[in-house]
Protein backbone atom coordinates (compact mmCIF):
# COMPACT_ATOMS: atom_id res chain seq x y z
CA UNK A 1 0.00 0.00 0.00
CA UNK A 2 2.98 2.26 0.27
CA UNK A 3 4.68 1.52 -3.00
CA UNK A 4 5.69 4.27 -5.35
CA UNK A 5 2.96 3.25 -7.80
CA UNK A 6 0.16 3.59 -5.27
CA UNK A 7 1.43 6.89 -4.00
CA UNK A 8 1.83 8.29 -7.49
CA UNK A 9 -1.68 7.19 -8.34
CA UNK A 10 -3.10 8.74 -5.17
CA UNK A 11 -1.34 12.05 -5.75
CA UNK A 12 -2.44 12.23 -9.37
CA UNK A 13 -6.05 11.42 -8.58
CA UNK A 14 -6.15 13.92 -5.76
CA UNK A 15 -4.51 16.57 -7.91
CA UNK A 16 -6.97 16.13 -10.75
CA UNK A 17 -9.94 16.15 -8.38
CA UNK A 18 -8.80 19.42 -6.82
CA UNK A 19 -8.25 20.96 -10.26
CA UNK A 20 -11.75 19.97 -11.29
CA UNK A 21 -13.17 21.49 -8.11
CA UNK A 22 -11.32 24.75 -8.67
CA UNK A 23 -12.60 24.91 -12.27
CA UNK A 24 -16.14 24.40 -11.02
CA UNK A 25 -15.79 27.13 -8.37
CA UNK A 26 -14.32 29.55 -10.90
CA UNK A 27 -17.21 28.87 -13.22
CA UNK A 28 -19.80 29.27 -10.45
CA UNK A 29 -18.28 32.63 -9.49
CA UNK A 30 -19.31 33.89 -12.93
CA UNK A 31 -22.95 33.57 -11.92
CA UNK A 32 -22.56 36.36 -9.38
CA UNK A 33 -21.81 38.85 -12.10
CA UNK A 34 -24.85 40.86 -13.20
CA UNK A 35 -23.89 42.43 -16.50
CA UNK A 36 -25.49 45.59 -17.85
CA UNK A 37 -24.42 45.78 -21.48
CA UNK A 38 -25.71 48.49 -23.80
CA UNK A 39 -25.51 49.11 -27.50
CA UNK A 40 -26.71 51.23 -30.38
CA UNK A 41 -26.57 50.40 -34.05
CA UNK A 42 -27.13 52.94 -36.77
CA UNK A 43 -27.36 52.11 -40.44
CA UNK A 44 -25.53 54.89 -42.23
CA UNK A 45 -26.16 53.80 -45.76
CA UNK A 46 -27.44 51.00 -47.90
CA UNK A 47 -24.62 50.88 -50.41
CA UNK A 48 -25.94 48.27 -52.76
CA UNK A 49 -29.12 46.24 -53.02
CA UNK A 50 -29.16 43.80 -55.89
CA UNK A 51 -30.45 40.54 -57.12
CA UNK A 52 -27.49 38.18 -57.51
CA UNK A 53 -26.63 37.02 -61.04
CA UNK A 54 -28.07 33.61 -60.20
CA UNK A 55 -30.95 35.07 -58.28
CA UNK A 56 -30.58 35.63 -54.49
CA UNK A 57 -31.10 39.11 -52.97
CA UNK A 58 -27.83 40.45 -51.59
CA UNK A 59 -26.30 43.67 -50.37
CA UNK A 60 -22.54 43.55 -50.88
CA UNK A 61 -19.62 45.79 -51.57
CA UNK A 62 -18.89 45.25 -55.25
CA UNK A 63 -15.07 45.35 -54.96
CA UNK A 64 -15.04 42.30 -52.68
CA UNK A 65 -16.46 40.05 -55.39
CA UNK A 66 -13.40 40.43 -57.59
CA UNK A 67 -11.17 38.72 -55.04
CA UNK A 68 -13.52 35.88 -54.22
CA UNK A 69 -12.73 32.53 -55.93
CA UNK A 70 -15.24 31.21 -58.42
CA UNK A 71 -16.14 28.15 -56.32
CA UNK A 72 -18.00 30.39 -53.86
CA UNK A 73 -20.40 31.39 -56.59
CA UNK A 74 -22.22 28.06 -56.59
CA UNK A 75 -25.85 28.53 -57.61
CA UNK A 76 -28.02 28.76 -54.52
CA UNK A 77 -31.59 29.24 -55.55
CA UNK A 78 -33.24 30.22 -58.75
CA UNK A 79 -33.89 33.63 -57.14
CA UNK A 80 -31.86 35.36 -54.43
CA UNK A 81 -31.20 38.96 -53.40
CA UNK A 82 -28.07 40.63 -51.88
CA UNK A 83 -27.50 43.62 -49.60
CA UNK A 84 -24.48 45.79 -48.76
CA UNK A 85 -24.74 48.32 -45.96
CA UNK A 86 -22.57 50.48 -43.71
CA UNK A 87 -23.26 50.54 -39.98
CA UNK A 88 -22.18 52.47 -36.91
CA UNK A 89 -21.98 50.07 -34.00
CA UNK A 90 -21.56 51.45 -30.49
CA UNK A 91 -21.47 49.20 -27.46
CA UNK A 92 -20.40 49.07 -23.84
CA UNK A 93 -19.79 45.48 -22.87
CA UNK A 94 -17.37 46.11 -20.02
CA UNK A 95 -19.75 44.73 -17.39
CA UNK A 96 -19.60 41.29 -19.03
CA UNK A 97 -15.97 40.73 -18.04
CA UNK A 98 -15.13 38.86 -14.86
CA UNK A 99 -11.78 37.60 -13.61
CA UNK A 100 -12.64 34.30 -15.25
CA UNK A 101 -13.26 35.76 -18.71
CA UNK A 102 -10.91 34.86 -21.53
CA UNK A 103 -12.61 36.85 -24.26
CA UNK A 104 -16.00 37.99 -25.46
CA UNK A 105 -17.18 37.16 -28.95
CA UNK A 106 -19.65 39.71 -30.24
CA UNK A 107 -21.60 39.74 -33.48
CA UNK A 108 -24.44 41.60 -35.14
CA UNK A 109 -27.08 39.62 -36.99
CA UNK A 110 -29.96 40.79 -39.13
CA UNK A 111 -33.16 38.94 -38.24
CA UNK A 112 -36.29 38.86 -40.36
CA UNK A 113 -39.16 36.68 -41.42
CA UNK A 114 -40.12 35.58 -44.91
CA UNK A 115 -43.10 33.62 -46.25
CA UNK A 116 -40.91 30.53 -46.59
CA UNK A 117 -38.88 30.89 -43.37
CA UNK A 118 -40.18 31.66 -39.89
CA UNK A 119 -36.78 32.93 -38.89
CA UNK A 120 -33.75 34.10 -40.82
CA UNK A 121 -30.62 35.15 -39.02
CA UNK A 122 -27.73 36.46 -41.06
CA UNK A 123 -24.52 37.44 -39.34
CA UNK A 124 -23.26 40.78 -40.65
CA UNK A 125 -20.28 41.57 -38.47
CA UNK A 126 -18.34 40.01 -35.63
CA UNK A 127 -15.34 40.74 -33.43
CA UNK A 128 -13.38 39.26 -30.59
CA UNK A 129 -12.91 41.43 -27.52
CA UNK A 130 -9.84 40.17 -25.68
CA UNK A 131 -10.00 42.42 -22.61
CA UNK A 132 -12.23 44.75 -20.60
CA UNK A 133 -10.41 47.84 -21.87
CA UNK A 134 -11.50 47.04 -25.42
CA UNK A 135 -15.09 46.33 -24.49
CA UNK A 136 -16.37 49.88 -24.89
CA UNK A 137 -16.16 50.57 -28.58
CA UNK A 138 -17.44 52.40 -31.62
CA UNK A 139 -17.02 50.86 -35.03
CA UNK A 140 -18.02 52.03 -38.48
CA UNK A 141 -18.04 49.18 -40.95
CA UNK A 142 -19.58 47.63 -44.00
CA UNK A 143 -21.04 44.19 -43.44
CA UNK A 144 -18.25 41.62 -43.11
CA UNK A 145 -20.34 38.76 -44.36
CA UNK A 146 -22.70 38.57 -47.28
CA UNK A 147 -26.23 39.60 -46.42
CA UNK A 148 -27.98 37.17 -48.73
CA UNK A 149 -31.53 35.92 -48.57
CA UNK A 150 -32.78 32.50 -49.62
CA UNK A 151 -34.92 34.08 -52.27
CA UNK A 152 -35.78 37.64 -53.21
CA UNK A 153 -37.86 38.65 -50.21
CA UNK A 154 -35.81 41.62 -49.07
CA UNK A 155 -37.45 44.55 -50.83
CA UNK A 156 -39.10 46.80 -48.25
CA UNK A 157 -38.31 44.21 -45.59
CA UNK A 158 -38.48 45.17 -41.91
CA UNK A 159 -35.69 43.61 -39.89
CA UNK A 160 -34.09 43.64 -36.45
CA UNK A 161 -30.41 44.05 -35.79
CA UNK A 162 -29.50 41.89 -32.85
CA UNK A 163 -26.25 42.25 -30.97
CA UNK A 164 -25.22 38.84 -29.63
CA UNK A 165 -22.38 38.18 -27.24
CA UNK A 166 -20.71 35.02 -26.00
CA UNK A 167 -18.65 35.33 -22.87
CA UNK A 168 -15.92 32.69 -23.10
CA UNK A 169 -14.49 31.79 -19.73
CA UNK A 170 -10.95 30.80 -18.92
CA UNK A 171 -12.58 27.69 -17.55
CA UNK A 172 -16.16 26.50 -17.21
CA UNK A 173 -19.54 27.49 -18.55
CA UNK A 174 -19.94 29.86 -21.46
CA UNK A 175 -22.63 32.56 -21.23
CA UNK A 176 -24.46 33.92 -24.23
CA UNK A 177 -27.10 36.59 -24.53
CA UNK A 178 -28.35 39.22 -26.91
CA UNK A 179 -29.87 42.64 -27.33
CA UNK A 180 -32.57 43.00 -29.98
CA UNK A 181 -32.82 46.36 -31.75
CA UNK A 182 -35.89 46.46 -33.96
CA UNK A 183 -36.99 49.02 -36.46
CA UNK A 184 -34.79 48.76 -39.54
CA UNK A 185 -36.10 48.56 -43.06
CA UNK A 186 -34.64 47.81 -46.47
CA UNK A 187 -35.42 49.95 -49.53
CA UNK A 188 -38.50 49.13 -51.57
CA UNK A 189 -36.54 48.79 -54.79
CA UNK A 190 -33.16 47.40 -55.81
CA UNK A 191 -30.41 49.95 -56.33
Amino acid sequence: MHSFGFRANAVLTFGITILALICAMASISDNFNSPRPSSEIQILNINWFQKQPHGNDEIEDFQVWDVVPICLFSPIDATAAMVSLTMNITADLQSLFTWNTKQVFVFVAAEYETPKNALNQVSLWDAIIPAKEHAKFWVQTANKYRFVDQGSNLRGKDFNLTLHWHVMPKTGKMFANKLVIPGYRLPEEYR
Binding site: M1, G5, L72, Q121, V122, G172
Partner: protein
Protein backbone atom coordinates in the same frame (compact mmCIF):
# COMPACT_ATOMS: atom_id res chain seq x y z
CA UNK B 1 -28.20 30.32 -31.86
CA UNK B 2 -24.80 31.26 -33.20
CA UNK B 3 -22.58 29.40 -30.72
CA UNK B 4 -19.90 26.93 -31.61
CA UNK B 5 -21.45 23.78 -33.01
CA UNK B 6 -19.84 20.43 -33.68
CA UNK B 7 -20.59 19.26 -37.17
CA UNK B 8 -19.98 16.09 -39.10
CA UNK B 9 -19.82 16.07 -42.84
CA UNK B 10 -18.81 12.59 -43.86
CA UNK B 11 -15.35 12.96 -42.31
CA UNK B 12 -14.15 11.35 -39.09
CA UNK B 13 -13.25 14.47 -37.19
CA UNK B 14 -16.02 16.66 -35.83
CA UNK B 15 -15.33 20.37 -36.21
CA UNK B 16 -16.40 23.08 -33.80
CA UNK B 17 -17.31 26.20 -35.78
CA UNK B 18 -19.59 29.16 -35.41
CA UNK B 19 -22.97 29.53 -37.08
CA UNK B 20 -23.23 32.65 -39.21
CA UNK B 21 -26.49 32.12 -41.07
CA UNK B 22 -29.73 30.50 -39.94
CA UNK B 23 -32.84 29.92 -42.04
CA UNK B 24 -35.68 28.26 -40.18
CA UNK B 25 -38.72 27.08 -42.11
CA UNK B 26 -42.26 28.11 -41.28
CA UNK B 27 -44.42 25.29 -39.91
CA UNK B 28 -41.75 22.55 -39.88
CA UNK B 29 -38.77 22.11 -37.58
CA UNK B 30 -36.33 22.21 -40.50
CA UNK B 31 -33.40 24.53 -40.22
CA UNK B 32 -30.57 25.37 -42.60
CA UNK B 33 -27.34 26.64 -41.19
CA UNK B 34 -24.05 28.00 -42.51
CA UNK B 35 -20.91 27.85 -40.38
CA UNK B 36 -17.49 29.44 -40.37
CA UNK B 37 -14.28 29.03 -38.41
CA UNK B 38 -13.40 32.22 -36.50
CA UNK B 39 -9.89 32.23 -37.89
CA UNK B 40 -10.90 31.43 -41.47
CA UNK B 41 -11.46 34.09 -44.10
CA UNK B 42 -14.38 32.35 -45.80
CA UNK B 43 -17.33 30.26 -44.67
CA UNK B 44 -17.30 26.47 -44.42
CA UNK B 45 -18.88 25.70 -47.79
CA UNK B 46 -15.47 24.49 -48.95
CA UNK B 47 -15.51 21.96 -46.12
CA UNK B 48 -19.01 20.70 -46.76
CA UNK B 49 -19.67 17.73 -49.04
CA UNK B 50 -19.67 18.33 -52.79
CA UNK B 51 -22.63 20.48 -53.76
CA UNK B 52 -23.77 20.91 -50.17
CA UNK B 53 -24.52 24.50 -49.24
CA UNK B 54 -26.22 24.20 -45.87
CA UNK B 55 -26.11 22.06 -42.76
CA UNK B 56 -29.31 20.50 -41.45
CA UNK B 57 -30.07 19.35 -37.93
CA UNK B 58 -28.79 15.84 -38.56
CA UNK B 59 -25.37 17.19 -39.52
CA UNK B 60 -25.00 18.89 -36.17
CA UNK B 61 -23.70 16.70 -33.38
CA UNK B 62 -23.85 19.18 -30.54
CA UNK B 63 -23.15 22.60 -29.22
CA UNK B 64 -20.26 24.06 -27.23
CA UNK B 65 -21.35 25.08 -23.74
CA UNK B 66 -18.13 25.54 -21.84
CA UNK B 67 -14.37 25.14 -21.63
CA UNK B 68 -12.11 22.77 -19.75
CA UNK B 69 -8.57 23.95 -20.43
CA UNK B 70 -5.92 21.42 -21.54
CA UNK B 71 -8.17 18.38 -21.10
CA UNK B 72 -8.14 17.81 -24.85
CA UNK B 73 -4.38 17.22 -24.74
CA UNK B 74 -4.97 13.84 -23.10
CA UNK B 75 -6.93 12.66 -26.13
CA UNK B 76 -4.48 14.22 -28.57
CA UNK B 77 -1.44 12.62 -26.94
CA UNK B 78 -3.11 9.23 -26.78
CA UNK B 79 -4.12 9.42 -30.44
CA UNK B 80 -0.77 10.65 -31.74
CA UNK B 81 1.43 8.45 -29.59
CA UNK B 82 -0.67 5.33 -28.97
CA UNK B 83 2.18 3.80 -26.98
CA UNK B 84 1.23 6.14 -24.13
CA UNK B 85 -2.24 4.60 -24.11
CA UNK B 86 -0.73 1.14 -23.70
CA UNK B 87 1.70 2.24 -21.01
CA UNK B 88 -1.12 3.87 -19.05
CA UNK B 89 -3.40 0.86 -19.26
CA UNK B 90 -0.50 -1.45 -18.51
CA UNK B 91 0.49 0.54 -15.44
CA UNK B 92 -3.10 0.66 -14.15
CA UNK B 93 -3.44 -3.08 -14.73
CA UNK B 94 -0.22 -3.69 -12.82
CA UNK B 95 -1.51 -1.56 -9.96
CA UNK B 96 -4.70 -3.57 -9.75
CA UNK B 97 -2.94 -6.91 -9.87
CA UNK B 98 -0.35 -6.04 -7.24
CA UNK B 99 -2.84 -4.58 -4.79
CA UNK B 100 -3.25 -6.57 -1.59
CA UNK B 101 -7.01 -6.03 -1.20
Amino acid sequence: MHDGKRLKNGREIPIVHRVIKVHERQETEEVEVLTKGDNNYGDDRLLYAQGQLWLQRHHIMGRAVGFLPYVGWVTIIMTEKPIIKYILIGALGLLVITSKD
